[in-house]
């Protein structure tokens, strides 16, 4: 794979890697929500600075992190253009009855900033948290719902397996694409009207192989004594350390400061 995709995990031993997944999930959620409740410039400078500090702490090369933003380039451009033309205000430029406004420019920029923050924060979460840890975190957070009879453990199990097969599927797609290109199929190159049907020879074998893998996996799980997710125990137990406590206080303090700034600025 030629780029680091959001959702991939990079093993490491940084303080960020060692934090409890529940703390990281909670913090990520807060960091993603804050720009929506706190629109002022000082708050957001503080917020962006904090995220950059986290990125440095994660030991993921900043350029690699920036390149993950390529995934949302088209979404970003669409959102920016949409805001640019639909926000009422002082016209800067009018083309055929539609105006680009100063306010539109600002709103568009804010959209891009929020989108980038969303991608960077979620990337940091997955880079520093293994899929297994994420699944345990989800399971632990949702545990109270299990008492209401919801299938939380099954959900966590499905999540673990799905995350585990993500790299495998990507490799598989890439291999089939190359194999069919070697037979002259136009998939990644050629005119668009030829490319779309070009994916049929990719998806058919992909589904066949996904089913074969699923069957193999089900057999292997059965052979290893899997019955249901309920009587299972876990190798890892999550327990909060002093570091987790400190990190939680820090992130809550950040939230409090930002809300205070917003309140003072009206």
């Amino acid at each position: 794979m030629s780029l680091l995709l959001p959702g991939m995990h990079v093993a490491g031993g940084t303080p960020l890697h060692r934090l409890d997944p529940r703390v990281k999930m909670g913090a990520s959620l807060l960091l993603m929500v804050l720009p929506f409740v706190a629109p002022s410039l000082p708050s957001n400078l503080l917020l962006a600075g904090f995220v950059v500090a986290l990125a440095i702490l994660s030991a993921v090369p900043l350029m690699a992190l920036v390149r993950t933003l390529r995934v949302v380039v088209w979404t970003g451009i669409f959102m920016f253009v949409f805001r640019l033309f639909t926000t009422p205000g002082t016209p800067l430029l009018t083309v055929g009855g539609i105006s680009v406004t100063l306010q539109g420019l600002g709103a568009g920029a804010v959209q891009i900033y929020r989108l980038c923050l969303l991608v960077v924060v979620s990337s940091l979460l997955t880079y520093t948290t293994s899929p297994a840890q994420l699944a345990h975190g989800v399971e632990a957070v949702l545990e109270p719902l299990a008492r209401l009879g919801l299938p939380v453990r099954e959900f966590a199990m499905v999540l673990t397996i799905a995350l585990r097969f993500v790299p495998t599927l990507f490799e598989e797609i890439e291999k089939i694409v190359k194999a069919q290109e070697a037979r002259g199929a136009l998939i990644r190159t050629g005119p668009l009207w030829k490319r779309v049907p070009g994916w049929v020879p990719v998806f058919v074998p992909l589904f066949v192989s996904a089913f074969r893998r699923a069957e193999d996996l089900a057999t292997a799980m059965e052979a290893r004594g899997f019955r249901s997710a309920h009587q299972r125990t876990h190798l890892y137990r999550l327990h909060l350390t002093r570091h987790d406590l400190a990190a939680s206080l820090l992130i809550l303090a950040l939230g409090a400061v930002i809300l205070f700034v917003e309140w003072r600025m009206g």
Partner: protein, 292 residues
């Protein structure tokens, strides 16, 4: 007396001399889509004792995988019986005990991993037994030590080499502390180093831990390393003996589509050219010393 013999004797006493695995007139038929059926196994009688190292060979489609999937109840007989450690696989209540005692490793290491780290994957079997975390930790550590992968505990399985993946799968089977491990062509996707390490691991598990091994393989050179060898052709066990006995049948092996270990093939050709060589030369070392 070696640990292995000791274990074997102990087993004989505790089980009243019943073999560890016993197949009685085992038949298995698959229904075909358009009606009719394929008889994949046609009346197999077979026993495997505790502590044996058995190789099972046969051409593709001869029923090897169908046979081994009966030994831990993944498949149930159409007729006949499968007994494992005194338990009948057809009894639903025995199934989980049988799967705890008979571990299984499959051909494609990629498709048998459940978790995203080596140690968590190894823990999957004992987690299903509902063991407490301390015990899980102990079993995972022990199993990884036995296959020599302790330092890879926190690696994601897909970053390992093929041989390391298969040894992870073996550790996963070991973690339920089984008496027997069945491996369905575990080396067919590995490079020579991966094969060698996997086989060394199996040999030491058999010798030092007394674990019964049933190895399905396409490689005749691998089969010669076993104590006992079974040949399957079209749903039947057509030959059962030491590798020397089985390979002694020369021409029949070719008819079964099996080929010969390299040393045996060279020895055959030398005999054709007039050299006088004793029978039962299975390895290059044996052949070389017979020639010198």
């Amino acid at each position: 007396m070696s640990k292995k013999q000791a274990l074997g004797n102990q087993a004989l006493e505790s089980q009243g001399a019943r073999p560890f695995i016993e197949l009685r007139a085992l038949t298995h038929a698959y229904a075909l889509e358009g009606g009719g059926e394929v008889r994949a196994l046609q009346g197999i009688d077979l026993t495997i004792e505790r502590g044996e190292f058995v190789a099972l060979v046969g051409p593709n489609g001869s029923g090897k995988s169908t046979l081994v999937r009966h030994l831990n109840g993944l498949l149930l007989p159409t007729s006949g019986q499968v007994w494992v450690d005194g338990l009948l696989t057809a009894h639903p209540s025995s199934l989980w005990k049988i799967r705890e005692r008979v571990g299984m490793v499959f051909q494609n290491p990629e498709n048998q991993f459940v978790a995203s780290t080596v140690e968590e994957d190894v823990a999957f079997g004992p987690e299903n037994l509902g063991l407490p975390p301390d015990e899980l930790r102990r079993r995972v550590d022990d199993a990884l030590k036995l296959v020599g992968l302790t330092e890879y505990a926190t690696h994601p399985p897909h970053m390992l080499s093929g041989g390391q993946k298969q040894r992870t799968a073996i550790a996963g089977a070991l973690a339920t502390r089984p008496a027997c491990i069945i491996l369905d062509e575990p080396t067919s996707m590995l490079d020579p180093l991966g094969r060698r390490r996997t086989l060394e691991t199996l040999r030491s598990l058999n010798q030092d831990q007394g674990i019964t091994i049933l190895l399905v393989t396409q490689s005749m050179d691998e089969a010669t390393a076993a104590e006992r060898m079974l040949v399957m052709v079209r749903g039947r066990v057509v030959s059962d003996g030491t590798p020397a006995e089985v390979f002694g049948q020369g021409q029949r092996l070719r008819e079964w589509g099996l080929g010969l270990p390299s040393a045996l093939e060279i020895a055959d050709r030398l005999r054709e050219r007039g050299l006088n060589l004793p029978a039962g030369l299975l390895t290059v070392e044996q052949l070389a010393s017979a020639l010198c």
